[in-house]
């Protein structure tokens, strides 16, 4: 049977779409089912973050870094704060370092829970979304009792943190972590090894290793393709070198290495590693110590520039900060991991079916606030 060519139609999986995780527009040329060309169009949430940074002082930029990646706000502001501290080389007390790692890892679990829940939604499973949000609410409660906010915290300050851990936080954390571990096995039963989920996500949207590196894809998307690259291990910042945890890498259990299922599996395993890190951090954390001790009177880094990278739940989050001695930064550039992951979308998803492309998009776990800045 020869290949019968139908007319191509241009579809817009537009800015308002349930499965584009925000305001992303995919311009798709398709003959009905198979996609021959796909171009992501972004910029619908460009909120001029970098222009704001040039008019605000160093501390005032922190709430804006929270709002860039609003699902993992702690990790975002942690990256910025560590960069500024490195420029001013402030010594951070031990207790603050441990609190920061605990908060960043908790936010990583919350972000992965949301990512896996909405990925289940994209594939069509509604109940795992509700299970995972139930646990995410528990983590947000822990954030709430520490710094009063649920989603955007302004918790990490240059030189310290805004509030010390409340009484009973450590015990509540231990109790919660045990329950979370049992729930994680529950997720595997309802979603990971579900036949329909495997059929929809295994062998689909394969990102080969060299394509991923060439496009600058980082984080769980890169580890899903089999490259063992995690900034917490390869370029340890703050006190991550004191914790023992391993870096899960995609092995192609259900299909081939680098498919959507592998990226999902890497995120699920990473949550277990984060639980391990939090446990070790809670044990070794010094019980006493003032968190406001090392707060500088005026945050004014010396002339010069720095490029500092941390591991956010979506990948390598880089901050390029250039200061000319004045209280407001000359330039703050945020290297967004989801931005480069999305740039690989058109390469890896030509030729797939329309329904597969939405699964590939869901597995990349993009956040539009961070892409458009």
């Amino acid at each position: 049977m020869g290949l019968v060519h139908a007319d191509e139609m241009v579809l817009n999986i537009g800015p308002q779409h349930p499965s584009t995780h925000g305001v992303l527009r995919l311009k798709v040329k398709t003959d009905g089912e198979i996609i021959s060309e796909i171009t992501p169009i972004i910029g619908y949430l460009h909120r001029c973050f970098e222009k704001h940074c040039e008019n605000l002082s160093y501390e005032q930029v922190i709430p804006f870094t929270d709002r860039c990646d609003y699902i993992a706000a702690m990790n975002n502001s942690l990256g910025y704060v560590l960069a500024v501290e490195k420029m001013m080389d402030i010594q951070i007390p031990e207790r603050v370092e441990y609190i920061r790692v605990i908060m960043a890892e908790y936010n990583r679990i919350a972000s992965h829970l949301l990512a896996l829940g909405t990925f289940g939604l994209d594939v069509g499973a509604y109940t795992p979304f509700l299970y995972m949000f139930r646990d995410r609410e528990r983590i947000l409660d822990l954030f709430e009792i520490t710094c009063g906010a649920r989603l955007l915290y302004n918790y990490m300050w240059v030189g310290g943190v805004s509030h010390d851990l409340p009484v009973g936080f450590v015990e509540a954390s231990y109790k919660f972590l045990d329950e979370l571990e049992t729930n994680m096995n529950e997720y595997h039963n309802i979603l990971s090894y579900n036949k329909i989920f495997i059929e929809r996500s295994a062998d689909i949207g394969i990102i080969p290793k060299d394509i991923a590196i060439d496009y600058g894809v980082t984080g769980p998307n890169l580890r899903g393709s089999g490259v063992k690259w995690d900034l917490r291990k390869d370029e340890p910042y703050s006190i991550y070198d004191r914790f023992k945890f391993n870096v899960p890498v995609g092995k192609g259990l259900m299909g081939s290495v680098g498919d959507c299922w592998d990226r999902y599996w890497v995120r699920a395993e990473e949550m277990k590693e984060s639980v391990k890190i939090i446990r070790q951090a809670l044990d070794k954390m010094p019980r006493k110590g003032d968190v406001h001790e090392a707060l500088p009177k005026k945050v004014r880094p010396p002339k010069g520039s720095i490029y500092f990278r941390t591991e956010s739940p979506r990948g390598d989050l880089g901050y390029y900060i250039m200061s000319d001695g004045k209280p407001t930064p000359l330039r703050v550039k945020m290297r967004s991991p989801a931005f480069t992951s999305l740039s690989a979308l058109s390469e890896i998803s030509t030729g797939w079916m329309l329904s597969d492309v939405l699964v590939i998009l869901g597995s990349l776990d993009i956040v539009l606030g961070e892409i458009d800045r």
């Binding site: 972004i42 060439d214 390869d234 290297r335 740039s343």
Partner: protein
């Protein structure tokens, strides 16, 4: 930084007269001329000792109303686990830098965003359009001398509503 010395020595003998050594000794970057940047880019990606295969970040910077613009590249090697920063100074009137989009596919969107924000034209870029702002947007927003437009197709863009400050 050790890597910087090694890289600039390699540059010196392979590409004489390209590298402008940094003034402050401790800084870990290399300033180069824009002309031969394309050939240099292919070289640092394929050379056995350097192997910078991942283009981490391209940053455009406006140094001030009087000074010119600058494009800064941060590269990183997955295999040899080292990184380097390369800077190219560009003057303000007709800023243009050779594009490395064919060398690293990741640089495609990063360059389009720098063009969108600073107006630095990347010669040889196959699809140089605005990345974030709508196509009919006037001006380059992140330049220091940029004035916010008051009207954008029918919608007021007042900087601050009266009585707010």
């Amino acid at each position: 930084m050790i890597i910087n010395q090694k890289v600039s020595d390699i540059f010196q003998d392979k590409f004489p007269g390209v590298v402008i050594l940094p003034e402050e000794p401790h800084n870990d970057y290399i300033q180069i001329q824009p002309e031969k940047w394309n050939g240099l880019a292919k070289f640092i990606k394929t050379d056995s000792e350097l192997k910078f295969d991942s283009c981490q970040c391209i940053t455009g910077i406006d140094l001030g109303i009087e000074e010119g613009l600058e494009v800064r590249y941060n590269f990183h090697s997955m295999k040899l686990k080292h990184k380097i920063e390369i800077r190219i100074a560009v003057e303000r009137k007709r800023p243009s830098v050779p594009s490395v989009e064919q060398v690293w596919r990741g640089a495609d969107w990063l360059e389009r965003e720098v063009y969108d924000m600073y107006g630095i034209r990347f010669k040889g870029h196959r699809d140089l359009r605005r990345m974030l702002l709508p196509d009919d947007w006037k001006g380059w927003p992140l330049r220091k001398d940029y004035k916010t437009p008051n009207i954008y197709n029918g919608m007021k863009v007042p900087k601050v509503r009266k009585g707010w400050d």
